[in-house]
């Protein structure tokens, strides 16, 4: 098992490397370089441009040097000093803007993941066991519709409904009085009270997809010979169902984290923009619009990295659950 984990961590390294390359490419994509933009913006705000500071920056980012030198300076800054560069729009180091928002993003994504599981798992089982029943049809329809509505649209509709009929706004993660307060239990509780709205919105598509997957997996398993064996042993239907087919169907279900997690992070980005949540999404969009590329690139890199780590965790969980993977790889 330990060996398995180590091997998977080892496999992750090239992926992370490619992620950093892609993010760096995105940083480099817009025409002009960072320094020119910086000088332009400083000039625009009427600040005097300090030659010495400029030279230091040029040195720091390796500007004017070959691309691989620039990449090296950038990535080593991140790996060795946690320095993600400077956001010229905010005039702050990227790292000060980054972590708080990233934490909230991942909190929302994680809660959404749990939410989708808790909802999809029992409904999927029900749908499979009572195939073609009323409940199954309803679940299937909800599944199709949930997959078809883009989640920003759900967010918009929800906002409209809340505004029109309840005359309140649903945006944000904190009540005004906690907006800038330091973290304490009261603030955390306030956060939880706001959290469910984005969680439900982001979770619809995922839940719909997982219900379909769980249903299909379980339908595949329900007629396998080992179920008949278990029945022939004299197990009751309920015990049998939970111990054998559901348990076997759980494995592919767990492995879906590999693609639901990226989808959740994607969904989180776009829903946060609509609901203006203080997470990565709105800031990323803003950074991209104003070509604040170090900030944007860092977000893209960290979101991807965390997703890859999440996928790794789900792989480990899967190996722990499934002896066929654990013992034969």
């Amino acid at each position: 098992m330990l060996q398995f984990i180590l091997r998977r961590v080892f496999y992750m390294i090239p992926t992370l490397f490619v992620i950093s390359l892609v993010s760096f490419a995105i940083i480099q994509l817009p025409p002009g370089d960072y320094l020119t933009s910086l000088v332009a913006s400083m000039a625009a705000t009427g600040e005097t441009v300090d030659r010495a500071a400029l030279a230091a920056l040029e040195q720091r980012y390796g500007l004017g040097q070959p691309v691989y030198v620039q990449y090296w300076k950038w990535i080593s800054g991140i790996l060795l000093h946690g320095d993600f560069g400077q956001s010229f729009e905010w005039n702050q180091p990227v790292s000060t803007l980054l972590w708080g928002r990233l934490a909230l993003t991942f909190m929302i994504s994680l809660f959404t993941l749990f939410f989708t599981w808790i909802v999809a798992f029992p409904i999927g089982i029900f749908s499979a066991v009572r195939q073609y029943s009323w409940g199954d049809y309803v679940a299937t329809i909800i599944g199709y519709v949930g997959l078809a509505i883009p989640n920003f649209l759900i967010a918009l509709i929800l906002m409209y409904v809340a505004f029109k009929f309840f005359n309140q706004s649903v945006g944000g993660l904190f009540s005004p009085e906690y907006q800038d307060a330091a973290w304490d239990w009261a603030k955390l509780w306030d956060l939880f009270k706001h959290l469910w709205i984005p969680v439900v919105i982001i979770g619809t598509a995922g839940t719909a997809g997982l219900i379909r997957i769980m249903r299909a997996n379980l339908l595949d398993e329900l007629h396998k010979p080992y179920v008949v064996t278990a029945r022939a042993k004299g197990l009751s239907e309920e015990r049998l169902l939970l111990k054998y087919p559901v348990r076997v169907a759980l494995n592919p279900f767990v492995s879906t984290v590999g693609w639901t997690l990226p989808a959740l992070v994607s969904g989180e980005a776009i829903v946060s923009i609509v609901l203006s949540l203080p997470t990565t999404g709105p800031l990323l969009l803003r950074a991209l619009m104003s070509q604040d590329m170090y900030l944007a690139g860092s977000f893209i890199m960290l979101l991807s990295t965390l997703t890859v780590i999440g996928t790794l965790l789900s792989d480990v969980l899967l190996a722990w659950l499934d002896p066929r993977i654990r013992l034969t790889q």
Partner: protein
């Protein structure tokens, strides 16, 4: 051994009756035997037809593509025609019958607008005025257009009887689905948006298909190191969150690009990630087929690899490919909609569903003009229809499956 009854002898057995030829009636019935000889496509069609949702989805999909083809004819106005007078005018219901002195007659009309001042917000709002009637007509003359950039016409499915040929203005208000910020007709824009959004779905899927079948095919046919590299690439692309990546790539498209360039740029970006699903399907099929007898024998017959692939392998899973293609169009549509909604995708004057929904991005515009969300309904309907159709096709592609 004691037997109570002796077996009757052969002669006895005929009981004196003349020997009749064995009737074929107990052989397979006619209808029955047809099941066995029916061609694969007949079987698929039969299975598909039984899938009612899929049939429904297919019909809706065809209808949507008809809208794509006949957008100019179906839309009452050009997509950019505006009116500074009727900003955020609400939808006008279409009345087909009018009360005339000689009873109810078929005389379609819509009501005009009157302006009210919202006493609280002190804002001008339009309300439908039941007193005023604007006669409309079907297959009527309206703004001239060039159908498919080929031939000229000015017939529209529906429009006001009186019209102004100025393609930029809407003088006589007929807003069946309301007007937007600039007094543009939401219905017309949605119809043109259908053209762009559905086309981007098709073109994007076509590009993904090229990438997917090439890379998936290489992967599945040759296996080994190439397979490994391609599989890693697929895993990589699937493991990163798409929206942030798309956002990053889309934001990098130069703002100097023409709308058409942006259109293709966005399509390429979408298919760069969209090909992975198709590649997996193709690869899986190739792996399964590689060892099948007919492929082996085609190879041993000295066919070239390309010929083996194109002539012998691809047709055998063609139906699966069609199903997967259908199922990947919705993803493209949703992706384009999301990107354009964020303002990173297509840009006006190009109209797509996402571009239209961008108008509804903030709560204030949604609250004043909820009809701006109607293009969202189009997205949902299109995605649902394609999913139903695709599911039906996938099931039918496996006519012997459960």
């Amino acid at each position: 051994m004691t037997t109570e009854v002796q077996p009757v002898s052969r002669e006895n057995k005929q009981t004196g009756r003349p020997i009749e030829p064995v009737q074929p009636e107990h052989a397979l019935q006619d209808s029955e035997s047809r099941v066995y000889v029916a061609s694969q496509y007949t079987l698929m069609w039969r299975k598909f037809r039984k899938h009612r949702l899929a049939m429904f989805g297919g019909i809706v999909t065809i209808a949507i593509y008809l809208v794509v083809i006949f957008a100019e004819f179906l839309a009452p106005f050009p997509s950019s025609a505006f009116s500074s007078q009727y900003t955020y005018a609400p939808p006008q219901p279409l009345h087909l019958f009018d009360e005339t002195p000689d009873g109810m007659r078929f005389a379609p009309y819509v009501n005009g607008y009157k302006v009210e001042i919202d006493p609280v917000a002190l804002r001008r709002t339009f309300v439908v005025d039941p007193e005023e009637k604007i006669p409309v007509s079907f297959f009527t003359r309206g703004t001239p257009y060039k159908m498919w950039w080929l031939f000229k016409s000015d017939i529209h499915l529906v429009g006001p009887i009186e019209y102004d040929a100025d393609p930029d203005r809407i003088k006589i208000p007929v807003y069946l689905l309301g007007a937007d910020r600039l007094g543009r007709d939401v219905l017309s824009r949605m119809i043109y948006g259908t053209r762009i959004s559905m086309t981007i779905g098709l073109v994007g899927v076509a590009l993904s298909f090229l990438l997917g079948i090439t890379l998936g095919g290489i992967s599945g046919y040759y296996g080994g190191g190439l397979d490994n590299i391609i599989q890693r690439a697929i895993e990589f692309l699937r493991s990163i969150p798409t929206i942030p990546l798309w956002m990053g790539l889309a934001a990098a498209l130069p703002s100097s690009w023409s709308p058409l360039q942006v259109f293709f740029g966005i399509t390429i970006i979408l298919s760069l990630i969209g090909w992975t699903g198709l590649a997996r399907v193709v690869r899986g099929r190739f792996l399964a087929l590689r060892t099948e007898d007919f492929v082996m024998s085609a190879r041993l017959d000295g066919n070239s690899e390309f010929r083996t692939i194109m002539v012998h392998m691809v047709p055998s899973f063609f139906s699966h490919i069609i199903a997967s293609l259908t199922l990947s169009i919705p993803g493209m549509i949703l992706a384009e909609t999301s990107l354009s909604f964020l303002g990173l995708g297509l840009r006006s004057p190009v109209v797509s569903w996402g571009v239209l929904l961008q108008e509804a991005q903030n709560i204030r515009s949604v609250a004043t003009a909820p009809w701006l969300l109607v293009p969202g309904l189009a997205v949902v309907v299109a995605v649902l229809a394609l999913n139903f159709l695709g599911d039906g096709l996938r099931d039918a592609a496996d006519p012997y499956g459960r």
